[in-house]
Assembly symmetry: none
Homo-oligomer: 225 residues x 2
């Protein structure tokens, strides 16, 4: 198996150097970009397995860059940010960041995050089918099966379920889900979400009263298991 390739987008040379050393000595192939523009070009020419993106870039907001990347790049993006910028982190995760690290970070932590993110890449890429207990989601065929029986979902229900499935185990806030499924203008319409979650549960849960797949996180959002 060939080395996994990582693209580092960061304007600080010393951080790039640090990352280069840490990553290459752990058998990754490292590409480097100093600016957001450069990063986009490199990623487009030769898509890496993972992108390490500093959110505090000078030439264009790291958030903008993240959005642009996410428009077509679907592998892991880990965001680096300075400390005490929780707003940045939340925004980044909402915009599709896979994970984040705040500087200064320990190398061991960085490597662990990278391994985990790349592992998830593989799961997503190799199977276009995700299996969760008695549920099967086939992204290519756009079909869902429960106990091997086909389940008929509306388009919105399907989108919602795939959003959940792609973020298994992680809490998705109401806002985040609404933005993803209905668009940015609908972030206050939590009732839509309730109605559709109820509909989904009716179709995919054995006992919709005691859901085992779509868990409610009261006051926050939902989590898919």
């Amino acid at each position: 198996m060939s080395k996994a390739e990582i693209l580092v987008i960061d304007d600080e040379p010393q951080i790039r150097k640090l990352l280069e050393i840490a990553l290459e000595s752990n058998d990754y192939k490292v590409m480097q970009a100093e600016t957001g523009k450069e990063g986009i070009v490199m990623a487009a020419n030769h898509p890496p397995d993972l992108i390490l993106l500093d959110i505090g870039l000078p030439d264009k907001s790291g958030h903008e860059l993240l959005k642009e990347l996410r428009a077509w790049y679907n592998k892991a993006i880990i965001v680096l940010s300075v400390q005490n910028s929780e707003a940045d982190i939340v925004t980044a995760l909402d915009n599709g960041a896979t994970d984040y690290l705040t500087k200064p970070f320990r190398t061991a932590e960085l490597l662990a995050r990278i391994r985990s993110a790349i592992r998830r890449n593989d799961v997503q890429a190799s199977n276009s089918v995700i299996v969760c207990g008695n549920l099967q989601i086939d992204f290519a065929a756009r079909t869902v099966k429960k106990d091997n029986e086909p389940v008929k979902l509306t388009s919105t229900e399907y989108n919602l379920l795939t959003l959940f499935a792609k973020n298994e185990g992680r809490v998705l806030t109401h806002q985040c889900i609404l933005k993803e499924i209905w668009g940015v203008g609908y972030q206050t319409e939590t009732q839509y979400l309730r109605v559709f979650v109820a509909a989904l549960r009716k179709k995919i849960e054995d006992n919709p009263n005691q859901p085992r797949h779509i868990i409610t996180e009261s006051g926050v959002g939902y989590r898919f298991v």
Copy 2:
């Protein structure tokens, strides 16, 4: 690795001498200042890894000094105070002190506090996963595990726990916690805090009667270990 440097700011010569002996024999490099003014100058010229500050200085209130230091100095500041001056301690912690000791103190305790504070200088909650003994907090997924079992927390409980975890080892005053979790209007509602600390302990402590994670600092606040 070079010796960690500690600046002692105290007007009493015998205390300074005591500290000098205790610290140097434990492989710290010690600088001494007799007055607040002198302390500021020394800290500015050559920032130490930790400052031991006597809050009862004669030339200017130790509290004033603490505020001035905190305006630009972001490493550990441990405050020394006489007994029965809880108001002083609370003020100091609210003004950004890292920890406190009341005189007379035992050397072993002083050294333990110093080690812990210096360790935190470089670790500084930088991970998206924090591990504390049998507890795991995953900020990206917004989940908590105890002994690898998921723990169900309400949103307020989760916020409280993450606040603690991000300030591991530090004393957080009641006011400070209330301000952070409930907002500035709630700084007198210490009863909320008691109720929620009790709830959290029930969920994350092995034995809630003898908490090992959330420690009560009577009259001051709580400390997460």
